[in-house]
Amino acid sequence: MSAPARRIAVFGATSDMASAFARRAAEEGARLVLLARDEEGLERIAADLSVRGALEVRTRVADFADPDALKEAAEAAWSAFDGLDVALIAYGSLPDQTALQGDLAGTEAALFLNFVSPAVVAGALAERFEAQRAGSIAVITSVAGDRGRQSNYIYGAAKGGLQRFLEGLRHRLHPAGVQVLDVRPGFVATKMTAHLAQSGPLWATPDKVAADMARALGTRRAVLYTPWFWWIIMSVVRLLPRPLFHRSKL
């Protein structure tokens, strides 16, 4: 207990990957500020983290689908402990591609929640981190952002856009010594993917992703594929020649 307790903000704290990450941090005695839409869910996680050893846990209800709430949420997270060491942006939705085709409002909402909203929050935090000249911004994107595929390209476009945004933000914050981590999970058995079968060698647990994230923060990585083999899979998918790619069902 020699190092000062880390100050960590988790945006979308009720998501499975985020709460698995928060658990690990709590057991190391971190101070956590949790933001999410579901108040009861937040309280449940806050109680859990306190028992597990978090030095302090604060919660704040925030709807990240609401454009007017974003800056305020970022400010509140920053000021909870007067600065942050890590900000994890973990919220998102996995929309049904076919249902969204031709649905303008639905497409807009999916693009907003998975791209615009986290980009705005990361951007608002960037000002603060840049001035502080230390810390890490971690954002959960997805391997789906690596190539547009017929099965999932609205979600993929949002995540791909977010990846570009983070790439630029990383470039900008590099001189300030601020880490920008782009976390690209593959299939993870979470609430968001509950409608899928969730079994087989490609599926990972939220805790596996959380462990990888914690390690990547420690080594100040830029891009994390988790589990690691997704780097190979996505390299193949990206490099697949178009005539072949078009014949696939990917």
Binding site: E40, R44, A47, V51, R52, G53, Q198
Partner: protein
């Protein structure tokens, strides 16, 4: 969350496709129980029950692994509240951290594996090596919250819904879905254990050793060499342990470091390996008669937790566990008869554990522990020969007025169950009509055709 697919018992002799639900939090779990619809359900936790108590082929499973949050921990009083899917390993990791003087909070009762859920520990009213002094797990449950199919969420404790509380402790998950529980932890002056292992040559010596150890040693049990017969029948190694004041021990790992990655096509546990294991174990103390050690508690409490999925060693046919308790009066003779039947059958068991239960009354209507002598064994599944042996053992137990442990059973008859658990008819009044399990149908707690509510 979708979780349907093949679920199996830990022994691997029951394997069935199930439709399963995995509610994300207690609220969702209570809602699910309140709207179960046409099929009956049973809770499934960490999957460590050896037999079919947590299986429900044709019905529904409620997989509780996501009900894994702590709710509160009063560090002064040692009261821990958590959701039902929290595992004992997680409780130890979070609460059993030693203070500077080595003292700390400890789970008052732990079974032979820490990888079980709190809900499962309550529903099976599990016991440990300190059963003679501390009773069963249920003795330390201050309260629990139960979701019933009529939509109610009931707090049950010795003072609130006390009847339903008693039915739920050891109630095999049939009284509703346990959402959360408050456990009274125990303060110990040292988390590490001092242990003694003492070799004994005859069964009578077990009783002598046990009589002189029971007061001063909190944790006691004996390993029996099940292949010894004649004059050596009932020989073994007596293990006694107690917390050592001032000796700290860190919590054990939350998952095993080693694991069996897949099921081999054939059992690796055959007669030869059973013989070799028993012969080596009998000689583990070398030429010494006894040995004293001071060590963390995991080797004593959780010897099987060192290797994950160790059940896979038994191959695709799996293995049977058997545990009984027989009244103390003629405990020695009955134990001799059981050991004799095993030795004659030539069906060896790796791990035979003998343990005396004390006078502390178990709090549940269907709790397994009662005063007497308890014998636990496992047998590789060799088909009819193994089933014959299990039937013979069951017969000896039933005649002696004993009972068999549901959490480990796969073969007991309805008659033996009813005889061993005289509170059965009282228990039936507390069964939630939307719950059922393979075990409950097999041993006649429910009618064999009880698949739908109210049937």
């Amino acid at each position: 969350m979708a979780a349907s697919g093949a679920y199996r018992s830990w022994g691997g002799t029951v394997r069935a496709g199930h439709e399963a639900r995995m509610p994300a939090d207690p609220r969702a779990a209570a809602r699910l129980v309140g709207t179960l619809g046409p099929r009956r359900a049973i809770a499934y936790g960490a999957g460590r029950s050896y037999g079919d108590v947590a299986l429900n082929p044709g019905g529904l499973l409620i997989d509780t692994r996501r009900l894994d949050r702590f709710i509160a921990f009063d560090r002064e009083a040692g009261l821990l509240t958590c959701e039902a899917g929290v595992r004992l390993a997680d409780i130890l990791a979070v609460t059993a951290r030693p203070d500077a003087d080595g003292s700390g909070w400890m789970l008052p009762v732990v079974p032979g594996t820490r990888f079980v859920t709190v809900g499962g520990a309550i529903a099976n009213d599990v016991h440990g090596k300190n059963a003679h002094l501390r009773g069963s797990f249920g003795c330390h449950v201050a309260s629990l919250e139960l979701a019933r199919s009529d939509g109610a969420r009931l707090v049950c404790s010795p003072t609130q819904n006390a009847d339903l509380f008693a039915a739920t402790l050891g109630g095999l998950g049939l009284t509703g879905l346990i959402l959360s529980a408050t456990i009274r932890l125990r303060r110990v002056s040292g988390l590490a254990l001092e242990s003694e292992e003492i070799r004994f040559d005859r069964l009578d010596d077990f009783f002598t050793l046990d009589a002189e150890s029971a007061e001063a040693w909190e944790y006691t049990a004996a390993w029996i060499d099940c292949l010894a017969s004649g004059a050596g029948l009932g020989r073994g190694i007596y293990l006694r342990s107690r917390h050592l004041p001032g000796a700290a021990a860190p919590p054990p790992a939350r998952s095993p470091r080693l694991s069996v990655p897949l099921t081999p096509p054939r059992s690796l546990v055959g007669n030869l390996s059973v013989k070799a294991f028993n012969a080596l174990y009998w000689r583990k103390l070398g030429s010494a008669v006894s040995r004293r050690t001071v060590a963390p508690y995991e080797k004593t409490f959780f010897p099987l937790d060192a290797i994950g999925h160790w059940n896979r060693f038994y191959g695709p046919s799996g293995f049977f566990q058997f545990q009984c308790v027989v009244p103390p009066g003629d405990g020695g003779q009955v134990t001799t008869a059981l050991l004799d039947a095993i030795a004659r059958s030539k069906q060896g068991s790796m791990l035979v554990v003998l343990k005396r239960f004390g006078e502390i009354a178990s709090p549940g209507l269907l709790s397994f522990p009662m005063p007497g002598i308890s014998l636990a064994l496992d047998f590789p599944n060799s088909g009819p020969a193994t089933l014959d042996l299990l039937a013979r053992l069951e017969d000896i137990v039933a005649r002696a007025g004993g009972r068999i442990y549901p959490a480990k059973d796969s073969t007991m008859s309805a008659e033996t169950f009813a005889k061993g658990y005289p509170a059965l008819s009282a228990f039936r009044g507390f069964i939630d009509p939307a719950f059922s399990s393979a075990f409950a149908r097999r041993v006649g707690i429910l009618h064999a055709d009880a698949m739908e509510p109210g049937s």
